[in-house]
């Protein structure tokens, strides 16, 4: 049932003469929760923007699977939900309106809302009910009518996740979403992600397609290991000299391994994955450890023929 949902093929990017990403290859399967970590300035956010479609890559392709058919991503689309660290919500809308926003713009057009008033009123009521349900699921029933400035950072991020999830995106992209939050709130939100993975497992067990695929960019390694089932390390510290390069051509993937699975109710015991954390630190973050990315790039299985795209 689970198949690929997103693939990066030889993706390269840069700004002016400054290369940022080099031959990034990654295939994400439906139902995976993948954490992307890397040193500051390695291009994690640039990679995410390429996937969102706001900054298409200079080289290579981003492919999204719609059923069995891959298609190239070159602009933002509703199948890729995004939650940012800053400006995660529209300030002029309440929590409930923020969550209902996607339903409104996706299911209706301006002229319908203007000229089919009765129809729009009924539909709007349904959207608001759906939004309220989603917010209740995020334990935010008391914040329905609050504006973003009236909510804490953690509440805003939970609303932002609800806003993205209500659209049932093929993949949910999280760009350092918990970076500005206190530790207790971070843990609360990390458990929401574990809850999504648990829902996926339940669906798989029932022979259904897993509903949630998530790519989370974070600089916090413990968090990355705790919430994900797979961790990918992007780094500019790899052995580009051995490839005959005189300067670094950009960051690439130097680490791609499974991580231990936790359930939402498990204790958050960071010591239990200390060895993996040390390994990631050594391979991804240390400037004196020049890794061979081909080991990891080639670890991604070559499956469907997509070269015709």
């Amino acid at each position: 049932m689970a198949g690929p949902i997103l693939e990066l093929k030889d993706l390269g990017h840069g700004f002016g003469d400054h290369p940022v990403l080099h031959q990034v290859n990654l295939k994400i399967q439906r139902g995976e929760i993948i954490a992307l970590v890397g040193p500051s300035g390695c291009g994690k956010s640039t990679l995410l923007r390429a996937i969102v479609g706001t900054h298409p890559p200079r080289e290579g392709k981003v492919l999204m699977w719609d059923g069995d058919r891959p298609c190239i991503v070159d602009s933002p689309g509703r199948e890729r939900g995004i939650v940012y660290q800053r400006y995660s919500l529209f300030p002029h809308l309440t929590a409930q309106e923020n969550v209902a926003y996607g339903l409104m713009v996706d299911e209706t057009e301006t002229r319908d809302r203007l000229f089919r008033r009765a129809w729009w009123r009924n539909l709007r009521k349904q959207h608001m009910e759906q939004a309220a349900e989603m917010l209740e699921r995020m334990k935010l029933e008391e914040a329905l009518h609050k504006y973003p400035p009236e909510m804490s950072g953690g509440m805003c991020q939970r609303v932002a996740i609800a806003q993205a999830l209500i659209m049932k995106p093929s993949i949910l992209l999280l760009d350092e979403p918990f970076g500005a939050l206190d530790e207790a709130t971070r843990e609360e939100l990390q458990r929401i992600l574990l809850g999504l993975y648990a829902e996926n497992e339940k669906a798989k067990a029932a022979g259904e397609e897993p509903a949630h695929t998530v790519l989370i960019v974070t600089h916090e390694i413990n968090e990355a290991i705790f919430v994900s089932n797979r961790l990918v390390g992007l780094s500019q510290y790899w052995n580009w000299q051995e490839r005959g390069r005189s300067s670094c051509p950009g960051a690439t993937i130097v680490y791609d391994q499974a991580t231990p699975i936790f359930s939402p109710d498990d204790d958050r015991d960071f010591l239990s994955f200390r060895d993996q954390k040390d390994e990631i630190l050594k391979q991804v973050f240390h400037t004196n450890q020049l890794q061979d990315p081909s080991l990891y790039v080639q670890a991604v299985p070559e499956e469907e023929e997509t070269s015709s795209l």
């Binding site: 706001t54 400006y87 926003y101 713009v105 504006y147 806003q163």
Partner: protein, 297 residues
């Protein structure tokens, strides 16, 4: 200590105190002027001001009309008086205040609305589509430096001396600044919110109408409040030159006739109108954009 907060009661005490002090100083000054030059009306006493106010709101008596015409003859010359006698109601309406208010406010609101609507539309387009911004912003920047009162003869030539001229002049004076400011505000709209709207399924038009416009609306209303002052400057200057009715016209004629006990109330009433308009826009901002004052800027 610098920036130390005041209690509301203390702040009010200081506000009332300063106003009372000002009124007290004026009273002393006007009484002194009366002692030095009895009957002088350049710094009228409170009773003279009251008479002036009555003159504005009540129908002038016949002899007062004649006195007014004499004053106008002295101020404007016989030729202007001859014109005035052909259409005396243009100069001496039954209720000066009502007539001046209708004329000035309709011109002000017409010009301000035209300038704001045009400026916001163009500014949003410039802010959203940077090719339009590149093409239009140099022209708008140049236009924003033109002083509308200096270009007044051109407006007379192009739009006559009726309502259209005032609307054109105020719109021309305010639109470039509104356009450039709105364009800047739109360009400051966070990229993340724009991208998010697209990922939620919004089209370009939806992004503008449902994300960008509500976001800039409170700032546009702030801008409208700021534009009231310059718009009034352009309008009163034009009315003083060419109008046959309105506050600018009345102030000019009555100043020449040294009827300051009427001029001062006119100025205060004009200021009150501007304050009421400001308060109305603030109320609109509060009702339409309740999130703005919460810190959602």
């Amino acid at each position: 200590m610098i920036g130390k907060k005041l209690k509301r009661s203390t702040a009010r005490l200081f506000s009332f105190g300063s106003v009372l002090l000002l009124l007290g100083l004026y009273t002393v000054l006007s009484e002194r002027q009366q002692q030095l030059h009895p009957g002088d009306r350049t710094i009228p006493t409170w009773s003279q001001l009251w008479t002036g106010l009555e003159y504005l709101v009540e129908q002038p008596q016949e002899q007062e009309e004649q006195a007014e015409l004499d004053l106008l003859a002295a101020a404007l010359g016989e030729a202007a008086l001859a014109d005035a006698e052909k259409e005396p109601r243009n100069l001496l309406s039954d209720r000066i205040l009502w007539e001046a208010s209708c004329s000035t406010l309709s011109r002000l609101l017409g010009g301000l609305a035209t300038g704001l609507v045009g400026g916001v539309l163009l500014g949003v387009l410039m802010g959203c589509f940077l090719k339009i911004d590149a093409a239009v912003s140099p022209i708008m920047y140049f236009a924003s430096r033109i002083i509308p009162t200096a270009a007044m003869p051109i407006f007379f030539k192009l739009a006559g001396i009726e309502m259209e001229m005032y609307v054109t002049m105020i719109a021309f004076g305010s639109m470039p600044i509104v356009t450039l400011t709105v364009s800047q505000i739109v360009q400051e709209f966070p990229d993340e919110l724009r991208y998010k709207a697209y990922t939620l399924g919004a089209s370009h038009l939806e992004v503008i109408l449902t994300s960008i416009f509500p976001y800039i609306l409170p700032k546009v209303l702030d801008l409208a409040i700021l534009m009231i002052g310059p718009a009034l400057v352009y309008l009163i200057a034009a009315e003083q030159i060419v109008a046959g009715e309105g506050f600018g016209y009345r102030i000019r004629v009555l100043t020449k006739a040294t009827r300051f006990e009427v001029v001062y109330p006119l100025i205060v009433i004009l200021t009150l109108y501007a304050s009421i308009l400001t308060a109305a826009l603030r109320l609109m901002q509060k009702k339409l954009c309740p999130w703005y004052k919460l810190g959602g800027r």
